[in-house]
Amino acid sequence: MENQNTIVININGNRFNFVKGDTILDVARQNNIEIPTLCHLKGTLPTGNCRVCVVEIAGEQDLTISCETKAAAGMIVQTESSRVVASRKQTIKKMLSMGNHNCAVRAPHEESWTQYQLKVQGEDNSPELCPAWGDCRLQDLAYYYQVSGSDYSNVQTLYSMEMANPFIIRDFSRCILCGRCVKACNEIQVNDAIEFGYDGDRKKIVAGDDKPLKDSDCVFCGECVQVCPVGALVPKDARFDRQWESKKVRSTCSYCGVGCQIDFHVKNNRIIKITGAEDTAPNDGSLCVKGRFGFNFVHSQDRLTTPLIKENGKFREASWDEALDLTSKRLSEIKDQYGADTIGVLTSARVTNEDNYAAMKFTRAVLKTNNIDHCARL
């Protein structure tokens, strides 16, 4: 029943319609066919950097990179053929051997295992396994394709870890040079702070002319941390906090009026990390430095924890009943003595709609004045 305008591609023996301009990966994903990716980043131009997403196309001698190749009419694609799987295994193995991927995917019976762990722990200055352990795309793929990095001898760590800023740890020993961070910085946030530097074996993600982030154009939005598929970029304050130890709570950022959607990562009644909520407006995963890293105030020792009443110029702690009784008594007295319009209420652009509504209703229905405002102008 196909009309002449319908374009059809064959993937794993099934026929699918597609729109001109879609890549093979797009068509596969639209039809719930899993093609693994690593460097591919939504909203940016594909680079074909990592080669994990290769597929086999009938009649083509070489495997094809599905994230950057447009689907074409009549194409016959295999996404998990033995050639494809062999290629992916090779790719993953190579990445695993590139650095300090000291998770369980390295064969534990390997003789040099202990030696290797000690080396990594020394460089990490910590007895913990990789910070991304359990939340790592490379580790997931290694398990899926049953690959271990043991065939490769340990490579020297060329570049030492950068900890010289308050927010982001750059661990070059775990970088697989997929380039997602570069894409995020240049094509999503458009801060143009990082890029690929040096050539060949010395290749590295650099900020400016290879400066520490703190001295570069970086504005610490942390988009790079969020998109890093491995343990190369991690939030300093939550370095070894494991994903499964915390629960996620979706909410709205409380800084500017953009209203970015955030995920709180909560462990033992503490926020340990905030990430941008993906696949939802308005921010689609992006955040700024304040939204991502500026939450320490929530657990600050300076928080007010009890009502306070001033007596003889000094505050003393009070019960809720005491403070509320005093407040309502004084407001009533002033209302009765001088009139409702001698009372003013400032509600807040910082609190919820529900809080604002309650303040508005209180001012108008209880105090009986319209003297209510907030800092919209300030």
Binding site: S254, G257, T280, P282, T352, Y357, K361
Partner: protein
């Protein structure tokens, strides 16, 4: 915003004015930068400071402080005289075009250059670029509003957008970027002296009756209340006796702080409800501790009118309560029960008394927020306003003449001061200055000054100097920078210990009562 944040990427031309977007709305600035870098949009930045966005701009116009009406009228002069205006839109959707036309007649590029300092040719080029766009978006922020002519400035931008038919279309609009997470919601909820929820005037008898019925009360006040900028001087004069301040820190954010401090000190009774012992809380009679956003359920409404959920992640510390609960308990003790079980119950009441929120429920916004107006539960929300007609029917062109700022430089106070924010801090710093990393990045206040002025006044980079206006003085570190123009300095207002608002002018816009934070006259004196 008349349009959405995502819609910025649909624009052919983006005019950004009075918004240091990369610092104050960083995530929104990414939409702007992407539009320019990857979607061939052209950007015009009009700003006295050489902000980061100027690097992405096709054109950067640098006006003298407080001359916005002049350059906007200048653009409109060029557009009309070159016949680039959208006649169909003007005919169908607007009134009073002739009045505007005769007003902008005198605003020739040469005349505008004299007032604004923007070269005449740049006015012409910018006018052509904006007028020829298929869809032109205007983004603005406090650099437009915080002037004694703030209302005039905003109306002028609306004039410009209507003149080119840039309203009610994707990629167009007049888009104020709201600086605080829920300033939109606080306004929507009637946290203003003249309106109930959804901007129903308190002076409208029918609106009052509706609210009286909904609340089961009588005798709601029929006269407009006072804005905060009026309450403060009245407190000073003893006409305001008591204040209940929720989540605000006017003793850092108000203009002319020395005066404000005396005013608040003069109150018979001050109750402050906050999460920290702010500068304002310190002078209160009673402090009521509240839960912060991570500790409560509810909703915020963002700058694009999208109502979004806020969810509780952690328990509030100690005895802190939700703000609504505290307020309700005071109400109860004053004889009016506000017995809400939870935030959802309040929201259900909000739906009933707020026509623009009538169709929004917690369930509907569980995964993604909705844009008001959303009048019924079947309504999909309204991402773009004014697609068919304006709220009042036809859009009115306002003929607006240029008025100079309230305070001018003179021999004694020879430099202009403008204020704003930096990326790493937020408003009065109560939250961000309690995050070590942010403080490490931006530890202290500074005054940005041009190399020319530094030389002229014999000031070294990094030295501590005293900056004084007619109202007060602060000590602050010098930062020689090409961000500011010759004759103007900039100081961020986050830092209480060097509060820029000790210097600022409390002169108000006559309509909105917004203070003129963006222009005042100052002098510098040597090492403190």
């Amino acid at each position: 915003m008349t349009n959405t944040i995502g819609d910025v990427e649909e624009a052919d031309v983006i005019l950004v004015t009075g918004s240091n977007t990369t610092e104050n709305h960083p995530v929104l600035s990414a939409f702007v930068k992407r539009a320019v870098k990857f979607k061939n949009a052209k950007m015009i930045v009009v700003d006295p400071r050489q902000i980061k966005l100027t690097k992405f701009a096709e054109q950067w116009l640098r006006p003298n402080l407080g001359t916005d009406v002049a350059w906007i009228n200048g653009l409109m002069h060029v557009i009309i005289s070159e016949n680039l205006h959208n006649k169909e839109f003007i005919e169908k959707r607007t009134t009073d075009f002739e009045k505007l036309k005769s007003m902008v007649e005198k605003f020739t590029p040469d005349y505008v250059e004299k007032i604004t300092g923007i070269p005449a040719q740049q006015i012409i080029d910018a006018a052509r670029l904006y007028a020829k766009a298929k869809a032109g978006a205007i983004l603005y922020c406090m650099g437009i509003t915080q002037h004694t002519t703030g209302t005039d400035n905003v109306k002028s931008l609306a004039n410009l957008a209507m003149l080119c038919g840039n309203l009610g279309i994707a990629g167009g609009g007049v888009n104020p970027l709201r600086g605080q997470n829920n300033v939109q919601g606080a306004c929507d909820m009637g946290g203003l002296p003249n309106v109930f929820t959804a901007y129903q005037p308190v002076t409208d008898e029918a609106a009052r009756k509706r609210m009286e019925d909904a609340w089961g009360v009588t005798g709601l006040s029929e006269k407009n209340g006072l804005t905060v900028t009026k309450m403060v001087p009245m407190a000073h004069d003893g006409e305001i006796k008591a204040m209940y301040i929720i989540g605000e820190n006017p003793l850092v954010s108000d203009p002319d702080l020395n005066h404000a401090e005396k005013s608040f000190g003069n109150l018979d009774f001050l109750v402050v409800q906050d999460i920290f012992m702010t500068e304002t809380a310190q002078i209160a009679d009673v402090i009521l501790p509240s839960a912060c956003f991570a500790e409560k359920e509810g909703t915020f409404s963002n700058t694009e009118r999208r109502v979004q959920r806020v969810r509780k992640a952690v328990e509030a510390p100690g005895a802190a309560w939700d703000d609504w609960k505290i307020t309700s308990e005071i109400a109860k003790r004053m004889g009016y029960p506000m017995a809400y079980k939870n935030a959802r119950e309040i929201f259900e009441e909000i739906m009933k008394v707020t026509p623009s929120y009538a169709g929004i429920t917690y369930d509907r916004i569980d995964r993604e927020g909705l844009h008001w107006p959303c009048p019924s539960q079947e309504h999909p929300g309204t991402p773009i306003l004014h697609t068919e007609q304006f709220t009042r029917g036809k859009g009115v062109f306002h003929a607006i003449d240029y008025i100079s700022p309230a305070e001018q430089v003179d021999e004694e106070y020879p430099l202009y001061l403008t204020t704003g924010r930096v990326l790493y801090h937020y408003h009065t710093g109560t939250m961000t200055r309690r995050t070590e990393g942010l403080n490490e990045r931006a530890p202290e206040s500074f005054v940005e000054i041009s190399a020319e002025d530094a030389k002229k006044f014999g000031i070294e980079d990094g030295s501590m100097i005293t900056v004084a206006s007619r109202r007060g003085e602060i000590k602050v570190r010098t930062k020689i920078s090409d961000m500011v123009d010759i004759g103007t300095v900039f100081i961020p207002f986050h830092y209480a210990e060097a509060a820029a608002n000790k210097l600022t002018n409390a002169a108000l816009d006559p309509v909105s009562n917004i203070p003129e934070y963006k222009v005042c006259a100052i002098k510098l004196s040597g090492t403190a």
